[in-house]
Amino acid sequence: MTNHWNDIANSDCVMAIGSNPAENHPAAFGHITIAQDRGAKLISIDPRFTRTSAKADVYAPLRSGTDIAFINGMIKYVLDDIDNNPDNYNMTYITEYTNAPYLVNPDYKGPADLEGLFSGYAGVSNEAENSKRKYNKSTWQYQKDATGVPIRDMTLQDPNCVFQLMKKHVARYTPEKVNAVCGTPVATFLEVCHTFAATGQKGKSGTILYAMGTTQHTYGTQNIRSYCLLQLLLANIGIAGGGINAMRGESNVQGSTDHCLLFHILPGYLKVPVDADATLADYLKRITPTSSDPLSLNWWKNTNKYVVSLLKAWYGDNATKDNDFGLHYLPKMESGKDYSHISLFEAMNDGIIKGLMCWGQNPAVGGPNSNQERAAMDKLDWMVVTDLWKTETAEFWKRPDADTANINTEVFLLPAKNSWEKEGSVTNSSRWMQWRYKASDGPGEAEDDLWMTDQLAKRLMKLYAEEGGPSAESITKMDWNYGAGHPDVHAVAKEINGYDLTTGKLMNSFANLTADGSTSSGNWLYCNSYVEPEAEPDAPIPGNRSSRRSLEDGPFNIGLYSRWAWCWPVNRRIIYNRAAVDLDGNPWDEEHPVVKWNPAAGTSGAWQGDVIDGGGLPMNQGGHYPFIMKSDGHSSLFGAGMAEGPLPEHYEPWETPVDNAMSNQTSNPAFKIWHPNEHGTSDKYPIVCSTYRVCEQWQGGQMTRNMPWVIEAQPEAFVEMSEELAAEKNIANGEKVIVESARGKVNVVALVTKRYKPFQMNGKSVHQVGVVWHWGYTGLSTGDSANLLTPHVGDANTMIPEYKAFLVDVKKV
């Protein structure tokens, strides 16, 4: 989230797309209700009429996987409206804060010219060979002056400027095309445009709330980018009540991501070393962005400080300048190789992976194409699962079709403690790090995962010290001292924050981290969270800012709650807040100012309000550009870093019942296809299917399917379908049906509802159904998981699997 939960109440228009906050973030939905009480409009865009839609002022149906067409249509509406009513928009924001005026290489060509492709594609349209499914991005670069600074046309008139390129790009997305792609009625689409575009005015704010409905596509990252583009054109990033807000689905998916339990990054979003990084210098050179523009702060230029401080936290005194601070103790991944979830299970299936450790995750239900993922586990030598329950993953050898006697995997199922049976912190969607305490005992011999990790580390360190082994020092040289008995969670939290190694004091800010080995920080983003007691004496745990409980509304009374818990980075509650003010530092929205330059404060003026992004002076006084995490300081309407194109272009999902109405390029030209043979076609599987969750159950269900109260509320897996489809298939509400895809089939209850309607797309009618995916074969309530149906294909940039749009057929049992 760029903003935070409470801030939604400040919004004038809330657009929920690819998300269903009333059902999946129900308690936080209260802030939307407050906004609505203030007169804000709620827009719900969803293939299915949800509980969020039931509360929305405007509901627009769209076929699963067509967000880009929809949003590009909205962007076209906004750009057309800017031509006619520029006063209704914040043109200063667009020209000064985004890369709209940047000139792009004149050789750049877009889908309007190249039938759905961008310039530089290695293959041809609908290329099948994975090695050719990628772009040479050289034509996507900016034109730069002699000093290396990008050239800008502040009038936005140059045909090669991003603004004009974007205009040309989206011109094809007329309301009629939107209808042809998305199935959204034209009038409804225009109502959405008109309602949300009204937030483009100075002083008005609109927020986009998204979740997995956005990301879990072969072009999920581009979906998000399309939202960003819209929000930047409406000047909604950085302001109160604005932003684009990813609503996280798990209590600590934000924190676990910040600490980077992901193959490609190290804690604090530092890119992992690869084989070619022979030295620390090589590594840093590769991963540190540069900028020649003196007005761009380019915050990531500090990468070296964060990397060295991380290595000091991990290897302590064993990390020295001479050994590149222990960089080579760490694994280096093969350049260009993907080690993400899908690849991981493919490698397991191929017998490469022999051992799996699984901490509270349940891929046997939650993984895509889970029949295959379950079968891959058969090939493991050993598996360790820590959980509260006997999950499907831990009992994969008991699954209905398992050949148990021939599965030679050793399985260790370790009983874990739940969140209030131990102490530690979690980070919510708002980036708030909040401390939790031990409140009760766990069952029997259950232990917390911190203890288990500590025990394993201690035993492994001992084994390697005694017996040696390849790169044994990677393990034995670790700085691992959290106490002899139960590890001290506060010691870990402090290590994450980091120390000034000269004084031994806790660091107060990542701004003071150094690259010379004199500071440590396990995660630079969390530096400032756990400080010396005298720096935060009033917190319930002095020094531990995540334990704070002050209910002061915060500066300007916009509900920042700056002294409630702690928020990364450096307690900044709304990121990119430099964009919330004009060039003089005055807020666009006087009613809800986030920050404000007060020339009278201090000796030469000072910022007031939220923790200012990057400090310095207002831009008119020579201050830097507002988007400090971007190397050029401007927010990107045009994103050359993307795999499938610098501007979002509509492609159909891998499996689609229709041709792409925008071009001949059917699907995303840049994502990897693992199993072409598992591709379902519309002659056999004519119905679009999506998977999702409901309020009463949770994720893979391992938690809630052992909880009688919620099982009672939502007892069985179901497939929702329209009355029209049910009539066609002669299916009665409440009866069991089979939903089948090219990968598998599920047996679930038919829930026939008015809330699904066949999509009417330019005369063609397409049915969509939806299956909840919470169920599996263990626990108190069992049933088929919808992920038996989902394919092993992922987003071209992040490899997030496609869970939301694929093809099925529905049959009576």
């Binding site: 600490h259 193959f263 450790m357 259950a446 995962d449 938690m703």
Partner: protein, 190 residues
């Protein structure tokens, strides 16, 4: 605390009943027998916590007696939820140690085994550490084909965990990277 509800009402009921027999026979409307207020038999809660479900980060209050959870409800001071709780949040008490389906013992499934066996922690942790070492050492790549020092193993994978605390995630990351694990993934990818 140990005031028993039924005993209490039996005692008071007898008194009320006696009075009725003696004096109330002629009255046309029954005397109500309202329950006598007694102190709450469970605390609302004193330990704050954060909901383990979605990323809203709602606050809750856990009340426990002798280490046993008796009540969990929303933390009225928490700015995100102001005491509120959805169906899952409201059901948190069933996630406590009292839930008979919670795991309370280390379980082990031997190769080709049909059932779980209960084991001791020490035995399991030693065996897991040994398994990790065996697999790691057998698969470890110190230098790749081009002579680069890479120090990785592709034979061990690690999944999880968005359900864990930050400190746990951090240590799991630290340990795995020290082991040379590159197949390091979790829920955020899904």
């Amino acid at each position: 605390m140990s005031l028993n509800r039924r005993d209490f009402i039996k005692a008071s009921g007898a008194t009320v009943g006696g009075a009725l027999l003696l004096g109330a026979m002629g009255e046309s409307v029954a005397l109500a027998s309202p329950i006598k207020p007694i102190p709450l038999k469970k605390q609302i809660g004193e330990t704050t916590t954060i909901c383990p479900y979605d990323g809203s980060g709602c606050g809750f209050l856990v009340a426990a007696e002798n280490g046993k959870v008796v009540n969990i409800e929303g933390d009225p001071e928490h700015p995100v939820n102001r005491g509120a709780a959805c169906a899952k949040g409201a059901s948190l008490r069933q996630l406590s140690a009292d839930n008979p389906w919670r795991l309370s013992k280390v379980l082990y499934r031997a190769p080709a085994g049909n059932e779980w066996e209960e084991k001791e922690w020490d035995w399991a942790l030693d065996k897991i550490a040994r398994n990790i070492k065996t697999t790691r050492d057998a698969s470890f790549i110190e230098t790749d084909g081009k002579g680069n020092v890479v120090n990785r193993t592709e034979a061990i994978a690690n999944l999880g965990g968005s359900a864990l605390d930050n400190e746990e995630c951090y240590l799991i990351c630290k340990l795995n990277r020290a082991l040379g694990v590159v197949y390091l993934e979790h829920h955020a990818r899904l």
